[in-house]
């Protein structure tokens, strides 16, 4: 059983390192139209000097709402787990 696990793990890690080797060379990302747009227009459209901030809170603001929901979820979950129960 142990060797099955080790074999499966080696397979997955080999797969992943293969992925790393096939990636585009480090430092030369694809011709990213979306990011080019952000870099060019974010300052004017969103009014923030920091492009990352404008992406987080404007262009991908819905993700940030989801992130807030995840945090809320975790808080409620921990409160649920560590509560005092009558029974």
């Amino acid at each position: 059983m142990k060797w099955v696990r080790v074999g499966a793990l080696l397979l997955v890690v080999g797969f992943l390192i293969g992925a790393a080797a096939w990636m585009r060379p480090f430092g030369r990302p694809p011709l990213a139209e979306m990011d080019g747009y952000f870099i060019q227009h974010a300052q004017a459209e969103a009014g923030a000097n920091n492009v990352v901030t404008s992406v987080v809170f404007d262009y991908r603001g819905f993700d940030t709402l989801g992130e807030a929901a995840v945090l809320f979820c975790a808080v409620v979950g921990v409160a649920l787990l560590l509560r005092k129960v009558a029974k």
């Binding site: 694809p30 990011d35 819905f62 409620v76 979950g77 409160a79």
Partner: protein
């Protein structure tokens, strides 16, 4: 601008708002909290149904978040930069399943959860889970899909651990959480690899770019692994019986809908994201064989169970096998003539499974509440006091096993029919699974409800009966008029996956 244009975002935002506001209302008064929850639930269902009607009558609905107008999906230059919600026939169908399950679960929860055991927190988590499921189903953006996947993971695991006064729920929740998180991270890694290749996150735009390189295959493998892990297919099914068995009944039922949302993600990946390059039958064979294996293993494990909750849980896992079998058949060959039938069978079975397994789980919840245990050896004779519950359980068991007048038969027939065209062996396995399931559930019914009266059991309150009644009505309606449902709901959904990729892409990218 009318309400109609904002339906997709409202269907996600209203339960989220409901979740955020519920603890505040709960502090004020119990009645106010219940009214708020009911209002939010009803409004969400109305939104989902209205959206489904809109999609089925006018085609794919696209909603861009944060743009000057929701219809402006792409920036000048023809590429999407903002998050879009894209609702086609399949998404709308899945939304209906989630709405049905969520509504029944909410009605059931009002009287099932006890006030002094953290009811407001559980209801808050339920709304978050509901919003997460709807978000997964409606979103058109890979990273956004991951975010909603994580919302459902966290909310679902917290709900599994609801019974903190026992030790087993926490254990089940920990196991589930570990597998869900690893699955989610595999999905994120795949999203990252796709982003690294094409510099985009929108499903439609990525789909138009994907060319089937080596990295695309690795990303497909990671997505398959992560989503199957979350759906509870066989190599990673260990969490499912624990989670379904230990979660409170109304949450276990939503968990079933949650696995189906992951399956929806899998279909979306297979048929839309990789729809243009998916010629390799290897993926189809993988899905079909995993489905068959899931079916067999789960049914055989169900035979051995002595706990009612785990028995139903293995029944639920086996149904996942049928869905994988049905839809996997389509991915097998490029466009076989039985493809549409198989797809219809697999997709119709998702709806049936949600209704029947949900009904069984709710009935098991009533049994546990009445008798204080779910151990089959200790139960018996409950039918004298729980007449309605026994009837609902019987109905659900027959429907799950696929006995002719009920809905399970309608969808399983479509799966048998199409799998027979590929290999009679698959059909034999599927039929065998159904027969074994019938035997298992007949034994469980006999053991729990029939026999001499052993103890006084408190009958189920009206609200819980109403929740079960809704599901039973759906089962009966779909069983008596399967043609109507197949024609008006299932076929648009199946077509959206089978040949609707071009429409999906055109709706987002224009042209």
């Amino acid at each position: 601008m009318s309400l109609g244009t904002h339906l997709p975002i409202l269907a996600i935002a209203v339960p989220l708002l409901g979740a955020f506001a519920l603890p505040i209302f709960a502090k004020v008064h119990k009645r106010l909290r219940d009214m708020w929850a009911a209002a939010v639930g009803a409004f969400t269902c109305a939104m989902v149904i209205a959206l489904a009607v809109q999609v089925l009558s006018t085609g794919v609905v696209v909603y861009t978040l944060g743009a000057t107008s929701p219809a402006q999906t792409v920036a000048p230059g023809g590429f999407p930069i903002r998050i879009t919600l894209t609702v086609d026939g399949m998404s709308a169908f899945m939304g209906l399943i989630s709405a049905l399950v969520g509504l029944a679960s909410l009605i059931y929860a009002f009287q099932f959860l006890k006030e002094d055991q953290g009811k407001p927190l559980a209801m808050t988590l339920f709304f978050l889970l509901w919003a997460g499921m709807l978000g997964m189903e409606y979103t058109g953006d890979m990273f956004n899909f991951f975010v909603f996947l994580e919302i459902t993971s966290i909310a679902a695991c917290a709900l599994i651990g609801y019974r903190t006064w026992e030790s087993r729920p926490a254990e089940a929740a920990f196991k589930t959480m570990a597998l869900y998180t690893v699955g989610g991270l595999l999905v994120l890694l795949a999203v990252a690899i796709l982003y690294g290749q094409y510099g985009a996150l929108n499903i439609a735009y990525l789909s138009s770019k994907i060319g089937g390189s080596q990295l695309d295959k690795i990303a497909l493998g990671l997505l398959l692994g992560g989503l199957l892990m979350k759906a509870g297919a066989v190599p990673a099914h260990m969490w499912a019986p624990d989670a379904y068995g230990e979660a409170p009944a109304q949450a276990a039922m939503v968990l079933v809908a949650n696995t189906q949302a992951s399956l929806y993600g899998l279909w979306r990946v297979l048929f839309t994201l990789f729809g243009g390059v998916l010629a390799a039958p290897a993926v189809g064979w993988l899905v079909v064989s995993l489905g068959t294996l899931t079916l067999l293993v789960a049914v055989l494990m169900a035979v051995l169970q002595r706990d009612l909750g785990r028995l139903i849980a293995y029944g639920a896992v086996s149904q996942i096998g049928y869905m994988l079998l049905g839809v996997g058949l389509v991915a097998l060959a490029s466009r076989p003539d039985f493809g549409l039938v198989a797809m219809q069978g697999g997709i119709f079975h998702m709806m049936n499974d949600a209704a029947t397994v949900g009904l069984l789980m709710l009935a098991a919840g009533v049994v546990r509440r009445a008798a204080g245990t779910k151990d089959l050896t200790a139960l018996g004779g409950l039918g004298h006091d729980l007449k309605w519950t026994g009837g609902f359980f019987f109905l659900g068991a027959l429907a799950l096993a696929g006995i002719p007048p009920f809905n399970g038969f309608a969808s399983k027939l479509l799966i048998y029919e199409s799998s027979f065209r590929l290999s009679p062996l698959l059909t034999a396995v599927a039929v065998l699974g159904s027969i074994l399931l019938l035997a298992v559930f007949a034994r469980a019914f006999q053991g729990v409800f029939l026999g001499p009266k052993m103890r006084e059991a408190e009958p189920a309150p009206v609200g819980m009966l109403v929740a079960m009644g809704i599901l039973a009505a759906v089962i009966l309606a779909m069983g008596l008029a399967p043609g109507f449902f197949v024609e008006h709901l299932v076929t648009p959904a199946a077509r959206a996956l089978w040949e609707g990729r071009d429409l999906y892409l055109a709706a987002v990218l224009g042209g």
